[in-house]
């Protein structure tokens, strides 16, 4: 997946020209942004909650070894198994081995971004398993052979009409012969198709919004109920989770859940929050016979070790992308990785490497809205600047960009020369652009002038204007 991030510019251009996509993304601006603002305005304690949420995550990360071991001990005490995976390949192998051992044929899945990150579906399908996403949105993008374009709303890029076509193509064999465009009828088809699959599944895979060290539970936050049918009806429940998902106590989840639903959907709560712990108890009438957790590193300890550590606070609410002018212009697929938007621009280079996601930290205007709305106060613009710096230091920025920045840096550290030269350029440009007030074309700036005009300068530099104003005072 990461390799696709190479062509951010090309994909962004395509996205800007895609009218369906533009209409779909526009709904985020109106819907989610307004809903979140209302929910936050109704809660005077929200700011204190953000502080508390960030503090819980920082405390846990600063003692991550302790809490993971405590979590592991509680899972084991309650009959579950914990597996540790260094990277995506190991994580997939662990899940494949479990599926193989229990003779699995069908795997149902609740929504799990980390399972997308490790490429689990492809790994299981390569073993001949039937893998079925059960979240309606994930089911739709799986049928369409696409990737989710938003971490909370995977189908935000798809119109109802496109989904109607997709279902008409794939659901006739279930008896849905007529093409319908009504959202309720389309969801009714998903419900009907998947109901028997939940019962037939050998293995159910879910993610975890949180792992609770106190009780050895994984917490999933959903609205559809598919995650619970996945984890309860399959013979074996496997949880895939990043190591940063652990929090100390049940009360800590209460703080973070108040932030999550408001930041993600603008609601006080979601329909379902489930704390699942271990396999079925001896007297239970339902639940899985086995319960496994795969704890996944895949770049997270690297983030823990350095300046990017605050990124591990992320609770995957999607507010940063809902408020990002770049995401709202090009959508999620342009980012080319599993995680789009500001959080993805930080995560993807750390997970896949700078060489695979080099453009992403630059797909940002540093306007800072993501940081303002982040429920756990991640300084996303600072982290993105930091990654740009790392790319520079490690030589990933080459060619015209490197030459240009080097030249500018040389000039900027020589103030006298800088002032004289800029004065000259501004005067000449002001003169040249005097008649129209703008330029259609400029040498070395076609990246700008291809799409819009460059305003002509006012024939004086900022420094000169400042000095003049000071004299007149």
């Amino acid at each position: 997946m990461g390799a696709r991030a190479h062509g951010f510019r090309d994909r962004a251009s395509e996205a800007l020209a895609d009218a369906n996509l533009q209409r779909s993304i526009a709904s985020l601006k109106d819907g989610f942004v307004a809903a979140r603002a209302r929910a936050v305005a109704e809660l005077p304690e929200f700011e204190a909650m953000r502080e508390a949420g960030a503090a819980i995550k920082d405390h846990t990360l600063a003692n991550l070894d302790h809490y993971l071991l405590r979590y592991e001990a509680e899972v084991v005490k309650r009959g579950g198994h914990v597996h540790w995976a260094n990277d995506a390949e190991e994580a997939c192998r662990i899940v494949r081995d479990i599926c193989h051992r229990v003779g699995a044929k069908t795997v149902t899945k609740g929504k799990s971004m980390v399972s997308e990150e490790i490429g689990l579906n492809a790994a299981l399908e390569a073993d001949g398993l039937e893998v079925l996403e059960t979240d309606a949105g994930e089911y739709i993008v799986q049928l369409a052979k696409e990737a989710p374009s938003h971490i909370v709303m995977p189908t935000i890029h798809k119109t109802t009409r496109q989904i109607a076509d997709l279902f008409h193509e794939h659901h006739q064999r279930y008896g849905f012969t007529e093409r319908v465009e009504d959202a309720a009828e389309l969801i009714g088809q998903v419900r009907s198709v998947l109901r028997s699959k939940f019962f037939a599944a050998d293995v159910g895979v879910t993610g975890a919004n949180f792992l609770v060290a106190e009780t050895g539970s994984n917490v999933i936050v959903t609205n559809e109920g598919n995650g619970d049918l996945t984890s309860t009806l399959a013979r074996v429940h496997i949880v895939t989770a990043g190591i940063e998902k652990v929090v100390p106590t049940l009360n800590d989840t209460a703080v973070l859940l108040r932030l999550l639903a408001r930041s993600a959907l603008g609601m006080d709560v979601t329909s379902y929050v489930t704390y699942a712990t271990g396999p079925r108890r001896p007297d239970d009438l339902d639940g899985p016979e086995e319960y496994h957790v795969v704890l996944i590193d895949n770049g997270r300890t690297k983030m823990l070790a350095g300046a990017i550590r605050p990124m591990l606070r992320c609770i995957r609410c999607g507010a940063c992308m809902n408020h990002c002018p770049v995401y709202l212009s090009v959508g999620g697929h342009a980012y080319g990785g599993v995680y789009p938007g500001p959080m993805g621009a930080v995560l993807m280079p750390m997970i896949s490497g700078h060489d695979k996601a080099q453009e992403l930290p630059h797909a940002c205007t540093l306007n800072g809205r993501c940081q303002q709305v982040c429920p756990v106060k991640i300084p996303l613009p600072d982290l993105l600047r930091r990654l740009r710096h790392e790319q520079w230091e490690e030589g990933f920025i080459r060619g015209k960009s490197r030459w240009g920045i080097t030249a500018w840096a040389w000039l900027a550290t020589r103030p006298v020369l800088y002032h004289r030269l800029t004065k000259l350029i501004v005067a000449l440009a002001g003169l040249a652009g005097r008649s129209r007030g703008r330029f259609h074309r400029l040498p070395l700036a076609s990246g700008w002038t291809d799409d819009r005009d460059m305003p002509a300068p006012q024939a004086t530099t900022f420094h000169a204007a400042w000095a003049k104003a000071k004299r007149q005072r």
Binding site: L68, M153, T215, G225, D228, R258, D268, V269, A276
Partner: protein, 212 residues
Amino acid sequence: MGREEILARIRSALSDRPHAQADNAALDERMAMRPAGPAVHFDGDLLPRFIAKSLANHFTLERIASMQLLVPAIRALLPADETPDISVAQALDHVGWPPEWTINRGAGRPVERLSVTLAYAGIAETGSIVMRSGADSPTTLNFLPDLHVVVLHASDVVRYPEDVWRRMDVSAAAWPRSVNVISGPSRTADVGGTIVRPAHGPKSVQLIIIDD
């Protein structure tokens, strides 16, 4: 497999902390104290708040004076010309169900019109109900029926989720496989951003509050 390697990398990443190892005693103390974060402040009695919030969550709601009135309340939810075929959690075995009804006392079935379960608690802050899995309360009864009927004693409504955790025994022997905090019927907005109820779970959730 990766356990020791991951732990070693974590410890190396955290090598700047004051103690070489985590201060286990202090961390265990925090765990035992279970500090609470900032609360959502609200005034007044718990039950009116719970009812207002649960209605906002699209629950439907009925209040009855005692458990004796439960059977007629359920009867009224089904078509009059139909002999009920429902699933009932064993926690409600003692209610005196009519012998002519078909009653499943096991786990949920693939086609499930109506189930009746007993809530462990209600949360006034959010209008949520808390279900605790066990022999007397299978989890599938919360997710498979078209209509999920939840019986809740008014005295089991608490202020915050933190109060639920205080009431529950978290020890390995007592903690259930599944705790479901439910705040409305199943829904999705994955087709065109339109909210549709239901998605995979119940189309409606009827609360029956017993005023004891």
